[in-house]
Amino acid sequence: MEGVCGKPPIRPNPADASQPARGAAIRLRRYLPPVASLAAILAPLWLLEGFHLFQLTVAVIMALAVLGLNIVTGYSGQISLGHGAFFAIGAYVTAALMSHAGWSFWATLPPSAALCGIVGYGVGLPALRLGGLYLALVTFSLAVAVPQLLKHRSLEAWTGGVQGLFLSKPEPPPWLPLDPDQHMYLLAVLVAGCCFWLTSNLVCSRIGLALMAIRDHPVAAEASGMDIAALKTRAFAVSAMITGVAGALSAVTIEYVAPDSFGLPLSITLFVGMVVGGVASVLGPVFGGLFVLFVPSIAESISRATPGVVYGVILIVFLVGMPDGIAGLIRRAAQRIGWSAEDRTT
């Protein structure tokens, strides 16, 4: 049996210091995964360069965006089909502040996240009081409407209208012997790492447990005194913030924002990434991010339409056949070979 949020269930401890061989095995088991993952995260800095490192940076960013979606859809069970809109807001706030007001990248992160949180709260408030279907409808419409809003005349001074905005990557500090691509990758990993850490803490906290309770049994949760609408709306705001931060990162990585890259297809991409990576899993979005970056470019080599068709088929196959996604597959495999679950959450 798995304990809640990775805390092992109480059972007699067979491994004591009196058995040094087993103690070493346990130490290996405890320290190997984090060390190995740190190495896997940092290795591309030196192993990859140029375009490949850029692609991996984008994958990290997509993973972060999918993580945001996973908070609202995976953990609190509300379906959002419009997280691309928050990605767009985050990207545009950062791009506008950097190119018009000359802010540094780091300074633009708080306003980006804040605006996404506010918009998320505002959109979620009317929809989340009602059943799950309404949020799906509202967010779907939001995703369709956002490119049009970004192109609108009244915002053109800030958004650059149809042309979009150009900006440039933050320069690496002089004491760091990295080129701008490597620096950007490190930056993305750093920001994403912080968000993943915060999210895994959030979902294992009192609030995370409450969200899961609401998802699994709303009536029982409400009877235990949880304010369902308030919790769901706040979860939606947090998730919008995280996806917005991902959007901000993407703006500086790609060095360009344009309204038509933030339409419904982006929102659907995030949704597919979430399902394929693993719903309600903190590790899942990592696989989701890698998937949405690399699978379409492979499929695109066949025909312009194939990525969409492949996405659709894979989405249905995963939902029906493997609803816990790649993360679930790995979790089960890890359990089978006797390693404790690496994913800390349920």
Binding site: L133, A145, V313
Partner: protein, 290 residues
Amino acid sequence: MDAFLLQLAAGVATGGIYASVALAIVMIYRATHHVNFAQGEMATLSTFVALTLIQAGLPYWVAFAATLAVSFVMGTLVERLIMRPVQHAPVLTQVGVYIGMLLIIGNLTGWVFGYTTKVFPSPFEGHGPALGGLISAHQLGSVGVTLAVLLLVYLFFTQTSLGLAMRGAAYNPASAKMVGIRVGRMLALGWGLAAMIGAVAGMMVAPIVFLDPNMMLGVLLYAFAGALLGGIDNPAGAVAGGFLVGVLENLAGPYLVGTELKLTVALAIIIGVLVLRPSGLFGRIVHARV
């Protein structure tokens, strides 16, 4: 004043199309309690089928009828092959499957028929403007066709025993099964009918907006707004809502926000309805026993 009347007439004409799609959405909603996000894509595919048949030399109305038949088969197949297996799955799975269908059908349409914008013929062309220049022949004709479809659907559900059986199956599947209604078959029939209604809407809107694989996305959004405005579980309400949204859209364009924000109007209507009157104008408030 003339300009106002012109916009009003145009609003009624497009409103009819929104009303049809809203009706298709509500029909599936009543049977499954889900919104078919792929409704627009299915209608676009039907319209491409119609265009292919017309280009093959069939007269318009023959192609129209054949398209309806093809759409009906497509709708029932979608229900049997894709939706039936996930009937009892969690909400996320069902919504995800709709999104998957949207991706598959939309991209296959583009793959097979190409992404270039195409001109779709109207059967009412060549009659010149009608009602003293207020409305084009196609607009008047499409209002007529839409109203005929709505009337037929109404008569079907109220006057035939099959219609009654379908209503029963959607309203209370368990009891319907007990009195001998084949609930699964009714569901497939409902999907087929919804696909047919969507196809009519697609063929009526294509001469106005031109045919391309993304043609129905905006229409679908307005249909959502119409369905919510009228009450998502009320077919007559959805039709009224569709017409209302069409008129609102056409009046808001020139008088309020300009044409670039048309889709945002749909979003604003949806959010406005959810804030002010979540059950819609004609919907019932659902109470659930826990």
